[in-house]
């Protein structure tokens, strides 16, 4: 009996943690389950029977697939630009000394500390004042997404860079590598996991964003906007298929990335 209570006491935190994790994953289970659901009526969101129809007729609901395509396009483009600009900024913040570092730090933090509805409405106010009210669409969404992803990229890459030993770069320089070679042969491979994590984060932020996008999208419909619209009309079960697919892809990317970085760090050790 004593052994049992001891064991429980020792593992209590872990068990609570696992319960919380279960809570976090519960909706994901529902999404996967619902992707196989055959609803009895159009407006019911209850599990009534198993079917593969949602998977085979993925693009049937009007605008679903085009909205996913738009979200993917914007997500990829915004991720590339935000990751590029953000990585440069992170290098500047960690590896360079200049006046106004503190101010730059606050400036980068501010977008993360601003509620989305405020950022979305200020962008809309800007576009409308600039006479772009009728031209809202792909490019205004793209601009907004790069803006809110940037800070998260800087913070993620900065963390990786700050944990990196600058002496490795000095060693390269001592061995007559020029700055360009030092960067590509030493700094970049070491920071790469951070950059990859930042890219993943910004893609998920972009793909998932609703509040800012909804204000600045004009007539365009992204995937979250499609889901929002569907909520009032009756939700097609196919959105759960999209959710499941995205989840699976993310898992694969994370697992592959993790194994890759483990191999690399073993190679460096």
């Amino acid at each position: 009996m004593r052994a049992v209570t001891d064991w429980i006491a020792r593992h209590l935190v872990l068990m609570i943690g696992l319960l919380v994790l279960l809570y976090m994953l519960t909706p994901v289970f529902v999404v996967v389950l619902m992707s196989f659901n055959q609803p009895a009526g159009r407006n019911t969101y209850t599990f009534d029977g198993f079917t593969l129809d949602n998977w085979t007729s993925l693009c049937e609901p009007y605008q679903l697939c085009s909205s996913v395509r738009l979200s993917l396009e914007i997500g990829l483009l915004a991720t590339v630009i935000a990751t590029l600009l953000g990585t440069l900024m992170a290098f500047a913040m960690v590896r360079h000394r200049f006046r106004g570092r503190g101010a730059a730090n606050v400036f980068i933090f501010l977008p993360m500390a601003t509620p989305e509805i405020v950022m979305g409405s200020s962008l809309l106010a800007l576009f409308v004042n600039a006479g772009l009210a009728g031209k809202l669409g792909f490019w205004t969404i793209f601009v907004a997404h790069v803006m809110f992803c940037l800070s998260f990229v800087v913070v993620t890459v900065k963390a990786r860079l700050a944990g990196m030993d600058p002496r490795l770069e000095q060693a390269a320089a001592d061995l007559y590598a020029n700055e360009w070679q030092t960067f590509w042969r030493v700094s970049f491979p070491l920071v790469f996991p951070g950059i990859l994590a930042a890219a993943l984060l910004s893609f998920s932020l972009s793909f998932d964003d609703f509040i800012i996008t909804n204000l600045n999208a004009g007539q365009q419909v992204t995937f979250p906007m499609f889901v929002w619209g569907a909520n009032t009309k009756g939700i097609p079960m196919q959105i759960n298929v999209i959710g499941t697919i995205m989840f699976a892809i993310a898992l694969v990317v994370v697992v592959v990335g993790e194994f890759g970085s483990r191999r690399r760090s073993r190679a460096l050790a």
Binding site: I16, G17, R97, M112, P115, V155, E258
Partner: protein
């Protein structure tokens, strides 16, 4: 405020000065990103403040007149006072729930998970990819009147047979807590993970009980993570309207719902005034909080 930047490594500052380069290169690297932020974050914020001072008599088609109409603020705040209060209260409760649920989880991942650490971390991040709205709809289903969870609660002796969860403040707060929990767990995990374990050993060598060791060593050292995590939870929760819309009722509308609707209705001055009011309120609350956390607990 720079010291609360929720980096994985709180800004430990630059490595020793001689390891950093001076000169123009730093500015050059910084310029493109800063320009983007200046053009599409700073300028819009200024525009928003300007728009909040337009004459509300105008319209999107006819154009607005800049009249420095400061009256927009008292009007907006008076009209939407209940929603403003609700947003702050819901966001506060959700943040507290995130601390209660998120701290043990972050602690367990950082110290108790052993070789399963990565898997657990992935499990924290993975729900992100299932799409915010789709997950919130899943909650709509889980909390629905006909589902087993509510049936089970109704069956319990101390709850009424007409208990309802969906369309209540409870559902909205639950949704907010759920959706922003990873934003609390990740920075906290990062700051726990960096902790020097020898400090805890030192505490126990000095006859501190595990509980005392936690309170006097672990908790204070994790404060930067807690501060960063609560900010990343509270701020988006206060501005959110998705949870209020999908899980709540007209009686649980938050300030975000109203701002969104005002923009759709074309009432830009009032919408902007309400946005600015929300931002100012949050900035003041955050500043006080960071200052208190900085003077009382972080030392």
């Amino acid at each position: 405020m720079a010291h609360v930047v929720p980096t994985d490594v709180p800004d430990t500052g630059p490595p020793a000065p001689e390891q950093q380069r001076r000169g123009l290169a730093g500015y050059l690297l910084l310029t493109p990103g800063s320009l983007w932020l200046a053009l599409f974050f700073l300028v819009p914020t200024v525009t928003l403040v300007a728009t909040s001072l337009y004459d509300p008599a105008g319209s999107l088609e006819l154009g607005y007149e800049m009249t420095g109409h400061i009256q927009n603020y008292p009007d907006a705040i008076a009209d939407f006072w209940p929603q403003i209060q609700r947003s702050l209260v819901y966001a506060l409760i959700a943040t507290v729930v995130c601390i209660v649920l998120g701290y043990p989880l972050a602690y367990a991942i950082a110290f108790k998970a052993g070789r399963f650490k990565t898997i657990l971390l992935v499990a924290v991040i993975a729900p992100f990819f299932t799409s915010f709205l789709v997950r919130t709809l899943a909650w709509q289903y889980l909390l629905g009147d006909t589902e087993w969870f509510v049936s089970f609660l109704r069956w319990l002796p101390f709850t009424g047979a007409d208990l309802q969860l969906i369309n209540t403040p409870f559902a909205v707060v639950a949704g907010l807590s759920y959706n922003f929990l990873p934003f609390f767990v990740l920075p906290l995990y990062a700051s726990l993970e960096k902790m020097d374990h020898r400090l805890l050993e030192a505490a126990s060598d000095l006859y501190a009980s595990p509980a005392r060791g936690f309170l006097k060593v672990t908790l204070p050292l994790s404060m930067p993570g807690v501060v960063a995590g609560t900010l990343l939870t509270f701020i988006p929760a206060a501005g959110d309207y998705i949870n209020a819309e999908l899980l709540g009722s007209p009686n649980t509308r938050m300030v975000g719902n109203e701002i969104q609707d005002l923009f759709y209705a074309g009432d830009y001055p009032t919408a902007s005034a309400l946005s600015v009011a929300l931002m100012v309120t949050i900035v003041v609350m955050v500043a006080v909080y960071v200052w208190r956390a900085g003077t009382d607990e972080l030392v």
